[in-house]
Amino acid sequence: MVLVDMRAWVQLISVFMWNPLMGNFISGHIYRGKLKQICIPALNCYSCPGAIGSCPLGSLQTVLADPFYNWSFYVVGWLVVFGSFLGRWICGWICPFGMLQEWLYKAPFVKLALPQWMRWSKYLILLVFVIWIPLAGARTLGLGVPAFCKYICPAGTLEAGLPLVGLVPGLQAAIGSLFVLKMTILFAVIVVSFMIFRPFCRVLCPLGAIYGLFNRVSWYHYKCDRELCAGCGTCANQCRMNVDPAREANSPECIRCGDCLQKCPQGALSAVYGFNSKTEAIGNE
């Protein structure tokens, strides 16, 4: 319980960590300083008025869409560093859009299960919208399109679209069918979040797809002690991401929320941080 409560605080703090410039939500400006050369680990739009860093997904598409480059070593490097150290802990602890979905899910509403096959769609979105369309546009048309930001990203619509369109008259005049599409996606994600736990993270988020690939090799990871595990299934039954931690403690779907660590009656599950798998366990009480 302590771990879960701490996570809620860390999530809230992360919103202000990535978006400390709250005054810009009144003035309608965005930060233009050099800190925006740096990628932050979480999905947080760089056009959000409060943002001080760059969204890694937007940055990746920007460099891939530039015909001068064939690949982005800079942004992929950041993703590899973040993923190597933390994996999808980033999703569970310091992603503002993930936090929003969790809060919505807490509302008393009918709860539904997500079909397991839908988890694969985020990898397709990563390949098509984040990598292929920007790259192909740069090579064939001379300038690619950041397709995920343009056609899908509800975080950008929420964090940048709504405040900036509300504050900048010039943007209000330019609203068209694309804005309607993005607002529809945002609305759909919000509505579904009342019924399904983190639907965007599980179905649509390419950043979660990337970090999930690191879960098995990240410094922060989970361990299941086979000698202690009684196979009771408590961990799998309570996991809202549909993971079975006893079988696959480092599943790409695991966002390291820590619920299973708290609820395992045998204390068989533990969190480990370090490059050595024998590193002393943390976070299990």
């Binding site: 942004v75 560093v81 330019a174």
Partner: protein
């Protein structure tokens, strides 16, 4: 072993990207309002 190699590889990629001035491309995009992100164009 992979847990040591990957962060080092990531750092090397960041440095190589800096040499190619990729960070300036990121910066140029991030300091202007991203019309795609907003949903305008």
């Amino acid at each position: 072993m992979l847990r040591l190699v990957l962060p080092a590889l990531g750092l090397a990629m960041i440095l190589f990207g800096l040499l190619r001035n990729e960070h300036l491309t990121v910066w140029a995009k991030a300091i202007t309002i991203c019309l795609e992100c907003v949903g305008i164009g």
